[in-house]
Protein backbone atom coordinates (compact mmCIF):
# COMPACT_ATOMS: atom_id res chain seq x y z
CA UNK A 1 0.00 0.00 0.00
CA UNK A 2 1.33 3.45 -0.93
CA UNK A 3 2.46 5.84 1.80
CA UNK A 4 0.15 8.72 2.69
CA UNK A 5 0.69 11.46 0.05
CA UNK A 6 2.09 14.79 1.29
CA UNK A 7 -0.79 16.57 -0.41
CA UNK A 8 -3.26 14.63 1.74
CA UNK A 9 -1.38 15.66 4.90
CA UNK A 10 -1.54 19.28 3.75
CA UNK A 11 -5.26 18.88 3.02
CA UNK A 12 -5.77 17.42 6.54
CA UNK A 13 -4.16 20.51 8.08
CA UNK A 14 -5.97 23.00 5.82
CA UNK A 15 -9.37 21.32 6.40
CA UNK A 16 -8.83 21.18 10.19
CA UNK A 17 -7.77 24.83 10.33
CA UNK A 18 -10.70 25.96 8.16
CA UNK A 19 -13.20 24.13 10.39
CA UNK A 20 -11.60 25.73 13.48
CA UNK A 21 -11.76 29.20 11.88
CA UNK A 22 -15.41 28.59 10.89
CA UNK A 23 -16.20 27.60 14.51
CA UNK A 24 -14.31 30.71 15.71
CA UNK A 25 -16.38 32.92 13.42
CA UNK A 26 -19.60 31.32 14.66
CA UNK A 27 -18.79 31.66 18.36
CA UNK A 28 -16.75 34.88 18.53
CA UNK A 29 -17.44 36.98 15.44
CA UNK A 30 -20.97 36.69 14.13
CA UNK A 31 -23.60 38.66 16.11
CA UNK A 32 -26.45 37.02 18.02
CA UNK A 33 -29.70 37.22 16.05
CA UNK A 34 -32.21 39.18 18.17
CA UNK A 35 -35.40 37.22 17.43
CA UNK A 36 -34.00 33.71 17.93
CA UNK A 37 -31.02 34.25 20.23
CA UNK A 38 -27.91 32.04 20.22
CA UNK A 39 -29.64 29.00 18.69
CA UNK A 40 -29.61 30.79 15.32
CA UNK A 41 -25.84 30.12 15.26
CA UNK A 42 -26.66 26.44 14.62
CA UNK A 43 -27.74 27.60 11.15
CA UNK A 44 -24.14 28.00 9.85
CA UNK A 45 -23.12 24.37 10.45
CA UNK A 46 -26.65 23.09 9.73
CA UNK A 47 -26.57 24.41 6.15
CA UNK A 48 -22.89 23.46 5.69
CA UNK A 49 -23.47 19.84 6.77
CA UNK A 50 -26.58 19.62 4.56
CA UNK A 51 -24.52 21.02 1.67
CA UNK A 52 -21.83 18.35 2.15
CA UNK A 53 -24.59 15.73 2.26
CA UNK A 54 -26.01 16.84 -1.08
CA UNK A 55 -22.56 17.29 -2.61
CA UNK A 56 -21.58 13.74 -1.66
CA UNK A 57 -24.76 12.29 -3.15
CA UNK A 58 -23.96 14.18 -6.37
CA UNK A 59 -20.38 12.84 -6.33
CA UNK A 60 -21.77 9.31 -5.87
CA UNK A 61 -24.10 9.75 -8.87
CA UNK A 62 -21.23 11.07 -11.03
CA UNK A 63 -18.97 8.21 -9.85
CA UNK A 64 -21.79 5.83 -10.81
CA UNK A 65 -21.99 7.23 -14.33
CA UNK A 66 -18.20 7.05 -14.76
CA UNK A 67 -18.11 3.47 -13.41
CA UNK A 68 -20.80 2.35 -15.87
CA UNK A 69 -18.80 3.88 -18.73
CA UNK A 70 -15.27 2.79 -17.72
CA UNK A 71 -15.82 -0.23 -15.46
CA UNK A 72 -12.99 0.78 -13.11
CA UNK A 73 -13.76 -0.35 -9.53
CA UNK A 74 -12.02 2.75 -8.14
CA UNK A 75 -15.16 4.69 -9.07
CA UNK A 76 -17.25 2.26 -7.06
CA UNK A 77 -14.99 2.83 -4.05
CA UNK A 78 -15.31 6.61 -4.55
CA UNK A 79 -19.11 6.46 -4.88
CA UNK A 80 -19.48 4.25 -1.82
CA UNK A 81 -17.21 6.54 0.19
CA UNK A 82 -19.11 9.65 -0.89
CA UNK A 83 -22.44 8.12 0.17
CA UNK A 84 -21.04 7.00 3.54
CA UNK A 85 -19.66 10.48 4.35
CA UNK A 86 -22.77 12.25 3.09
CA UNK A 87 -25.07 10.02 5.10
CA UNK A 88 -23.29 11.09 8.31
CA UNK A 89 -23.30 14.78 7.36
CA UNK A 90 -26.91 14.77 6.19
CA UNK A 91 -28.02 13.05 9.42
CA UNK A 92 -26.05 15.68 11.37
CA UNK A 93 -27.87 18.43 9.42
CA UNK A 94 -31.25 16.84 10.25
CA UNK A 95 -30.40 16.58 13.96
CA UNK A 96 -29.05 20.17 14.07
CA UNK A 97 -32.23 21.36 12.35
CA UNK A 98 -34.32 19.51 14.90
CA UNK A 99 -32.43 21.15 17.80
CA UNK A 100 -32.95 24.58 16.18
CA UNK A 101 -36.66 23.83 15.61
CA UNK A 102 -37.40 23.05 19.27
CA UNK A 103 -37.24 26.67 20.55
CA UNK A 104 -38.25 28.29 17.22
CA UNK A 105 -41.13 26.06 16.04
CA UNK A 106 -41.86 24.68 19.52
CA UNK A 107 -41.41 21.12 18.24
CA UNK A 108 -38.48 18.76 17.55
CA UNK A 109 -40.05 17.46 14.35
CA UNK A 110 -42.95 18.15 12.02
CA UNK A 111 -43.90 16.38 8.79
CA UNK A 112 -43.57 19.43 6.53
CA UNK A 113 -42.09 19.12 2.99
CA UNK A 114 -38.40 19.88 3.73
CA UNK A 115 -38.12 17.63 6.77
CA UNK A 116 -40.09 14.84 5.12
CA UNK A 117 -38.06 14.86 1.88
CA UNK A 118 -34.81 15.09 3.88
CA UNK A 119 -35.82 12.02 5.91
CA UNK A 120 -36.65 10.17 2.66
CA UNK A 121 -33.23 11.05 1.18
CA UNK A 122 -31.50 9.78 4.34
CA UNK A 123 -33.44 6.50 4.18
CA UNK A 124 -32.77 6.03 0.44
CA UNK A 125 -29.00 6.27 0.99
CA UNK A 126 -29.07 4.20 4.20
CA UNK A 127 -30.74 1.50 2.07
CA UNK A 128 -27.92 1.91 -0.51
CA UNK A 129 -25.32 0.91 2.10
CA UNK A 130 -27.45 -1.94 3.45
CA UNK A 131 -28.25 -3.36 0.01
CA UNK A 132 -24.56 -3.26 -1.02
CA UNK A 133 -23.82 -5.67 1.82
CA UNK A 134 -26.10 -8.22 0.22
CA UNK A 135 -24.13 -8.52 -3.05
CA UNK A 136 -20.88 -10.55 -2.85
CA UNK A 137 -19.57 -10.23 -6.40
CA UNK A 138 -17.63 -6.90 -6.60
CA UNK A 139 -18.57 -6.26 -10.27
CA UNK A 140 -22.29 -6.86 -9.69
CA UNK A 141 -22.18 -4.83 -6.47
CA UNK A 142 -20.50 -1.92 -8.26
CA UNK A 143 -23.01 -2.01 -11.15
CA UNK A 144 -25.97 -2.17 -8.79
CA UNK A 145 -24.54 0.65 -6.62
CA UNK A 146 -23.87 2.87 -9.64
CA UNK A 147 -27.42 2.55 -10.95
CA UNK A 148 -28.87 3.01 -7.45
CA UNK A 149 -26.75 6.15 -6.83
CA UNK A 150 -27.82 7.68 -10.16
CA UNK A 151 -31.55 7.09 -9.57
CA UNK A 152 -31.28 7.87 -5.84
CA UNK A 153 -29.91 11.29 -6.66
CA UNK A 154 -33.28 12.38 -8.09
CA UNK A 155 -34.49 12.67 -4.48
CA UNK A 156 -31.82 15.30 -3.63
CA UNK A 157 -32.95 18.26 -5.80
CA UNK A 158 -36.50 17.47 -4.67
CA UNK A 159 -35.40 18.22 -1.10
CA UNK A 160 -33.60 21.37 -2.22
CA UNK A 161 -36.58 22.84 -4.09
CA UNK A 162 -39.23 21.66 -1.60
CA UNK A 163 -38.98 24.86 0.46
CA UNK A 164 -39.05 27.01 -2.67
CA UNK A 165 -41.97 25.30 -4.43
CA UNK A 166 -44.24 23.99 -1.66
CA UNK A 167 -46.07 25.54 1.26
CA UNK A 168 -43.76 25.02 4.22
CA UNK A 169 -42.74 26.54 7.56
CA UNK A 170 -39.05 25.90 6.84
CA UNK A 171 -37.33 29.28 6.25
CA UNK A 172 -35.52 30.15 3.00
CA UNK A 173 -32.54 32.32 3.89
CA UNK A 174 -31.23 32.72 0.34
CA UNK A 175 -34.08 33.50 -2.05
CA UNK A 176 -37.71 34.39 -1.38
CA UNK A 177 -39.44 32.63 1.50
CA UNK A 178 -42.93 31.12 1.64
CA UNK A 179 -45.33 33.36 3.63
CA UNK A 180 -45.96 30.58 6.16
CA UNK A 181 -42.26 30.07 6.97
CA UNK A 182 -41.11 30.64 10.55
CA UNK A 183 -37.58 31.41 11.76
CA UNK A 184 -36.29 33.29 8.73
CA UNK A 185 -33.91 36.24 9.00
CA UNK A 186 -31.92 38.64 6.85
CA UNK A 187 -28.16 38.06 6.82
CA UNK A 188 -25.90 41.04 7.50
CA UNK A 189 -22.25 41.12 6.30
CA UNK A 190 -20.66 39.18 9.23
CA UNK A 191 -23.39 36.53 8.89
CA UNK A 192 -22.79 36.22 5.13
CA UNK A 193 -19.02 35.93 5.66
CA UNK A 194 -19.46 33.22 8.32
CA UNK A 195 -22.02 31.41 6.20
CA UNK A 196 -19.95 31.29 3.00
CA UNK A 197 -16.72 30.55 4.86
CA UNK A 198 -18.43 27.61 6.61
CA UNK A 199 -19.61 26.29 3.23
CA UNK A 200 -16.05 26.52 1.85
CA UNK A 201 -14.53 24.92 4.99
CA UNK A 202 -16.94 21.98 4.85
CA UNK A 203 -16.33 21.49 1.13
CA UNK A 204 -12.58 21.17 1.78
CA UNK A 205 -13.29 18.88 4.77
CA UNK A 206 -15.46 16.68 2.55
CA UNK A 207 -12.70 16.41 -0.08
CA UNK A 208 -10.25 15.45 2.67
CA UNK A 209 -12.53 12.80 4.17
CA UNK A 210 -13.37 11.40 0.74
CA UNK A 211 -9.69 11.00 -0.13
CA UNK A 212 -9.13 9.11 3.16
CA UNK A 213 -12.20 6.96 2.54
CA UNK A 214 -11.05 6.09 -0.99
CA UNK A 215 -7.63 5.05 0.38
CA UNK A 216 -9.38 2.87 2.96
CA UNK A 217 -11.51 1.27 0.23
CA UNK A 218 -8.42 0.57 -1.88
CA UNK A 219 -6.59 -0.98 1.10
CA UNK A 220 -9.58 -3.19 1.87
CA UNK A 221 -9.75 -4.31 -1.76
CA UNK A 222 -6.05 -5.27 -1.59
CA UNK A 223 -6.66 -7.15 1.68
CA UNK A 224 -9.52 -9.06 0.03
CA UNK A 225 -7.25 -10.10 -2.88
CA UNK A 226 -4.50 -11.23 -0.49
CA UNK A 227 -7.01 -13.14 1.60
CA UNK A 228 -8.34 -15.00 -1.44
CA UNK A 229 -4.74 -15.74 -2.51
CA UNK A 230 -3.73 -17.13 0.86
CA UNK A 231 -6.98 -19.15 1.05
CA UNK A 232 -6.39 -20.71 -2.39
CA UNK A 233 -2.76 -21.50 -1.46
CA UNK A 234 -3.93 -23.19 1.72
CA UNK A 235 -6.28 -25.53 -0.15
Amino acid sequence: MNEKPNLLTILDVVAGLMILVAAGLVFFYVPVEVMMGSVQKVFYFHVATAWVGMLGFLVAAIAGVVYLRKGNLLWDIAGNGAVEISLIFFLTAIVLGSIWARPIWNTWWTWEPRLTTAAIVELIYAAYLLLRQGVDDPERRARFSAIYAIFGFFSVPLTFISIRMLRTIHPVVIGSAEAASQGGFNMDSPMKLTFFFSLAAFTVFFADLLWHRIRLGQLRAEVDVLRIDSYSKGE
Binding site: M1, G37, S38, V39, V42, I88, L96, L219, R227
Partner: protein, 51 residues
Amino acid sequence: MLSRFFVPDTVNYMIAGYLVFGVMISGYVMSLILRWRKAHREYVYLRKDQD
Protein backbone atom coordinates in the same frame (compact mmCIF):
# COMPACT_ATOMS: atom_id res chain seq x y z
CA MET B 1 -33.37 49.28 21.17
CA LEU B 2 -35.98 47.59 23.36
CA SER B 3 -35.47 44.29 21.54
CA ARG B 4 -31.95 44.06 23.07
CA PHE B 5 -33.58 43.28 26.39
CA PHE B 6 -35.81 40.54 25.00
CA VAL B 7 -33.37 38.36 23.07
CA PRO B 8 -34.55 34.83 23.91
CA ASP B 9 -32.14 32.71 25.94
CA THR B 10 -31.53 29.76 23.59
CA VAL B 11 -27.84 29.27 24.35
CA ASN B 12 -28.40 25.70 25.67
CA TYR B 13 -29.84 24.66 22.31
CA MET B 14 -26.82 26.14 20.53
CA ILE B 15 -24.45 24.22 22.82
CA ALA B 16 -26.45 21.03 22.30
CA GLY B 17 -26.29 21.54 18.52
CA TYR B 18 -22.54 21.97 18.39
CA LEU B 19 -22.01 19.09 20.86
CA VAL B 20 -24.05 16.80 18.60
CA PHE B 21 -22.05 18.01 15.60
CA GLY B 22 -18.73 17.38 17.40
CA VAL B 23 -19.70 13.90 18.59
CA MET B 24 -21.08 12.76 15.20
CA ILE B 25 -18.26 14.05 13.01
CA SER B 26 -15.41 13.11 15.36
CA GLY B 27 -17.09 9.71 15.76
CA TYR B 28 -16.97 9.23 12.00
CA VAL B 29 -13.33 10.39 11.80
CA MET B 30 -12.44 7.93 14.62
CA SER B 31 -14.22 5.12 12.77
CA LEU B 32 -12.14 5.91 9.66
CA ILE B 33 -8.90 5.78 11.69
CA LEU B 34 -9.85 2.51 13.41
CA ARG B 35 -10.95 0.83 10.17
CA TRP B 36 -7.73 1.93 8.47
CA ARG B 37 -5.61 0.49 11.32
CA LYS B 38 -7.53 -2.79 11.26
CA ALA B 39 -7.23 -3.13 7.47
CA HIS B 40 -3.52 -2.19 7.58
CA ARG B 41 -2.78 -4.80 10.30
CA GLU B 42 -4.54 -7.42 8.20
CA TYR B 43 -2.65 -6.30 5.08
CA VAL B 44 0.75 -6.58 6.82
CA TYR B 45 -0.16 -10.01 8.23
CA LEU B 46 -1.35 -11.41 4.89
CA ARG B 47 1.65 -9.95 3.09
CA LYS B 48 4.00 -11.70 5.53
CA ASP B 49 2.01 -14.89 5.06
CA GLN B 50 2.51 -14.66 1.28
CA ASP B 51 6.29 -14.17 1.62
